[in-house]
Symmetry: C2
Subunit: 269 residues, 2 copies
């Protein structure tokens, strides 16, 4: 089995891929879009991409790719995320910090407290940050990296677990052409694009789920790439599309909104 993930080697996506299937061949891509393309072009059987983090929130590139491609979410995985400050110097010596923007936003409080005057240089991945620091090996430069990346690049860890909360988890989804069977403990993800503009429409739509005793676990508005105020809604709910109440609620919503099924899959929490 081939799984496409965000590279490079040692990334959290790499770990998520191996967690889904320890024997899989992992195929690395540069962006979330190219992970989806790899599945479309059959260079991989499935793709595994981050969809939200408990500190920094939704990964919008994934919501956009789910909208633009026609795949199903077939599984979700939770991965605890720990960040470390790594480099050759001591914390007092550091003037420059390399970090991926998403990582940075999970360590904002640490940076404000301990490195308020450091120059921040954004990188394309945590592994890239590690690679830069391994090459430079200067005492006044550091990178924010995972334990795995620090090991791969043989970096000294200056301070462990610098993320803003001990509970920092990223939720990944596996996407592919197949569908996941009902397990009895499932989640369904859909996007809703209302076709009628009137006060209370969203409320009425949500009412369909409440009336069918369906628990919503997430709701998020995203600009529909038209004008501000024109939103798509991404909704996660408990249940499988093959559950009668879920199917009924979604069929009713379809009367006033374009509904895109993003998948029903076993839920991880």
């Amino acid at each position: 089995m081939k799984i496409a993930v965000l590279g490079p080697k040692g990334s959290f996506s790499h770990q998520a891929g191996l967690k889904h299937n320890p024997h899989a061949e992992i195929v690395f891509r540069n962006t979330i879009w190219y992970v989806f393309e790899a599945v479309k072009n059959m260079e991989a059987d499935i793709g595994i991409v981050p969809i939200e983090n408990s500190l920094s929130g939704t990964i919008s590139a994934t919501l956009d790719a789910l909208t633009d491609f026609d795949f199903n979410i077939i599984d979700e995985l939770l991965l605890p995320i720990k960040h470390n400050l790594a480099g050759a110097g001591r914390i007092e010596q550091i003037k420059v910090v390399y970090a991926h923007p998403q990582t940075l936003s999970q360590c904002e409080k640490f940076i404000r407290k301990y490195l308020p005057d450091a120059e921040i240089i954004r990188t394309s991945s945590n592994s890239k940050s590690a690679e830069i620091i391994a090459k430079k090996h200067e005492k006044n430069k550091a990178a924010i990296v995972s334990q795995e990346a620090a090991e791969i690049y043989n970096l000294n860890i200056i301070k462990k677990n610098i993320q803003d909360s001990p509970y920092n988890v990223t939720r990944f989804v596996a996407v592919g052409a197949d569908k996941a069977k009902m397990t009895g403990k499932d989640r369904t993800s859909i996007s809703i694009y209302p076709q009628v503009d009137k006060p209370g429409l969203l409320y009425n739509l949500l009412g369909e789920f409440a009336n069918n005793r369906i628990n919503l676990t997430k709701i998020e508005s995203r600009p529909s790439k038209g004008k501000l105020g024109d939103y798509l809604f991404f909704i996660d709910l408990e249940g499988h599309i093959d559950d009668e109440n879920v199917r009924e609620a979604i069929d009713t919503v379809r009367k006033v909104a374009i509904v895109k099924m993003l998948g029903s899959y076993p839920r991880a929490y």
Copy 2:
């Protein structure tokens, strides 16, 4: 009047500050958090920060700062955003592109189509991208920058308006210690943190607004920085907190949720 914005000079935030008050003294800060700090420390009268973009969505650092500081939104501004590819070479020669992550996500389709193999280097601001390219002046390097930044750094524009949609608008909010008076065409922003965990609670909360004929213009869930599935909801609605129906709805919601008033202000659309 002093207005704190995200720097450096020539940033879209700079333009938004001058749009709010052409005679203001603009004070530049490095992050959204430090813009709020500048207001708190009275180094500026108000701060102006981006809150959402029609292509790339919510700016989560602003939602987090609105949660952590106690200021009011007193105004909102819409700024059309146009991006340009600038540098010394021709498009066929470009191997490296410098861009701010937010800018990059608004030009993803252009990059995929015209520069799929270019190395992408993320920067801390559009002006920083322009500064780097101005210094390097190599034909195989380019930056994604605004018209203003290209002018300040005297850059050649290779391709104009490369954002993924002709309609690309960023919404900014002005925040400060004062409150904005009712104008009759207002918006109110609140965050809601439900204190009861039961199916349909969000639906019931939204029902309070529907029953009071209040139109919701935005709803967004954000992880409450506790566990995944534990969300704060950011809601924008039409009306002013001094409107009787708005006050009544919010008072009712307070019975089952922690409500934080983020401000009532004249709406721009």
